[in-house]
């Protein structure tokens, strides 16, 4: 069956060029970069080159890029590392209610250790209000951490404004940019970002590799202790193939950037408009324009997300949902609930995230297949039956 993969926010296929760039570092160039012989030096050089490419894409310096095992480690390091060095200075952290669990659960962990966390509300489109950030600042605030763009609804946060506020108050500002890389242009200096997390597998790079950007001079504790890798700040033998792959992937992600974003945005809007036009009682979740070019999240009333995903899958379409029944935790998406959606609507959301491989034909196929699926589910939905009876 024709497989249409529209879950690129979950992960992406690794590009052929990326795999090719990585391959020699599994076999012939296998040396440990910490060693002195030439075999090791080749790898050291490869790491440095990747670091330079990443720094350039973020507007950072090479000595501000630190490799981690992924976005989750980068988030943990940023938050726990700042908390650790801020003892005596303060114990208050500002974040939002719609962060990724790598942020939220780390904050909840610190809360149990005695830290005070402010979880900012968002508006109905998922936007954090910079004024709310300003109002939440206290003498004891040690960190502001707000995601660059939301993974479920694609809303892009006012990062520059928040960065400015953080700078004015001399508070470190971290952003989880895992979903934004390759889709949004980022300049850490211009936007006053002190810490930034990213992950390789979200932009056609390998899994198991990520980066924490740490602004030069920022005090932060060490998270992984051991050898002197990453200038003594992140121990562990470098994942050389991963690092090389991440470097190549980010280079490709920012190549022909404007054309790529324009193409994705057009496809995204076609999908949104196509679905909303052909399915009654459904609506877009998230911001209409301040939105990742690859994200479509539609709330479909009277149907449950997992069932919808199963039926889409039967048609060869891979998507995801904020429904409880797909999350493992069985609670509906905390992001959709934070937008003010009632539970039954949060259960009935479906997310399509486009990628470089997505075509117009695929989008048209989804627009054709989804309305009858929804209609079929509604015909067996007691919620829809009640709705029709009360609206006769």
């Amino acid at each position: 069956m024709n497989k249409i993969y529209l879950d690129n926010a979950a992960t992406t296929p690794v590009k052929k060029e990326v795999v090719e760039a990585m391959l020699p570092y599994f076999t012939e160039n296998f040396g440990n970069p910490s060693s002195v012989y030439q075999l090791a030096q080749i790898n050291k050089k490869a790491i440095d080159e990747a670091r330079e490419t990443i720094a350039k894409c973020l507007g950072a310096n090479t000595n501000e890029i630190f490799f981690t095992s992924g976005g989750t480690e980068a988030d943990n390091w940023a938050i726990k590392g700042i908390a650790e060095v801020s003892k005596g200075k303060g114990n208050h952290i500002i974040t939002s209610k719609i962060e990724h669990h790598a942020i939220l659960h780390t904050c909840e962990y610190l809360e149990k250790q005695g830290y005070e966390i402010t979880y900012l509300d968002v508006d109905s489109e998922g936007m954090v209000n910079p004024e709310d950030v300003k109002r939440a600042i206290k003498d004891t605030t040690i960190l502001i951490t707000i995601m660059y763009a939301n993974n479920e609804i694609g809303t892009i946060m006012p990062i520059s404004e928040i960065g400015k506020i953080a700078k004015e108050h001399n508070i470190p500002f971290h952003t989880d940019a895992v979903q934004a890389i390759g889709q949004v242009k980022i300049d850490v200096k211009e936007q006053n970002i002190d810490l930034l997390s990213l992950s390789g597998h979200k932009f056609n790079g390998p899994k198991g590799i990520g980066v924490l950007y740490i602004k030069r001079g920022l005090k932060i504790g060490t998270f992984i202790h051991g050898g002197a890798q990453e200038r003594g700040r992140r121990a562990g033998t470098e994942n050389v193939p991963g690092i090389v792959g991440l470097g190549k992937a980010i280079e490709l992600a920012y190549e022909h950037f404007d054309d790529k974003v324009a193409r994705l945005t057009t496809l995204r809007d076609e999908l949104i408009e196509g679905l909303i036009r052909s399915i009654p009682y459904c609506k877009l979740n998230g911001h209409k324009t301040d939105r990742l070019p690859n994200n479509v999240n539609i709330g479909v009333e009277f149907v449950e997300g997992e069932s919808l995903l199963l039926l889409l899958d039967m048609n060869g379409i891979a998507a995801s949902s904020g429904s409880a029944c797909t999350s493992g935790s069985l609670d509906p998406s905390h992001v959709l609930l934070a937008l003010g959606l009632p539970h039954e609507k949060a259960h009935g959301s479906v997310r399509f995230t486009l990628g470089e491989q997505t075509t117009k034909e695929q989008i048209d196929f989804v627009i054709e297949k989804m309305p009858p699926i929804v209609q079929r589910m509604r015909e067996m939905s007691p919620l829809y039956e009640d709705f029709l009876k009360t609206n006769k």
């Binding site: 009277f302 449950e304 935790s329 069985l330 539970h343 259960h347 007691p382 919620l383």
Partner: protein
């Protein structure tokens, strides 16, 4: 994740719909937790002649509704009472552990429909207890469906 039988009952659910002059109707679950099951029974001479359902829920919820209605048709009330969440799950070749609560929903909706029938006809069905208002009540603390 799901057995072939679950997928079959999900893709081709049996007995979807309503019974206009149903002898008993039972609804359990709630939209908050993402699953509602509504069962209609047609009962004549103590025999369940027909059963229909409508369900808002995941694949397992739809499949267990379908299987429960299939199991109950042709049974006496006493036999119908013996249909448990376990027997529904077994008839589907099992459910993932995290979805077992969906089969509970099927059992409870049958009981709720039988209770409705008993109440309407002013009879007492031996062994049938008044259905809970909300099947998720006992799960509130664990979040919705962390059964």
């Amino acid at each position: 994740m799901y057995s072939e039988k679950v997928m079959d009952h999900f893709m081709n659910p049996r007995n979807v719909g309503e019974i206009e002059d149903a002898s008993g109707v039972g609804t359990v679950g709630n939209a908050r937790c993402g699953d509602i099951m509504k069962v209609y029974l047609k009962i004549e001479d103590n025999i369940i002649k027909d059963a229909k359902f409508k369900t808002f829920g995941c694949g397992a919820a739809v499949a267990t509704s379908s299987m429960a209605t299939e199991l109950v048709i042709g049974k006496t009330i006493e036999e119908a009472l013996k249909i448990s969440n376990k027997s529904v799950a077994e008839a589907l070749d099992g459910l993932p552990p995290v979805k077992m609560h969906c089969s509970l929903l099927a059992e409870e909706s049958l009981h709720a429909a039988l209770w409705d029938y008993a109440k309407k006809n002013n009879i007492k069905i031996e062994g049938l207890e008044e259905p809970k208002e909300d099947i998720h009540e006992h799960e509130e603390e664990a979040g919705c469906c962390n059964a």
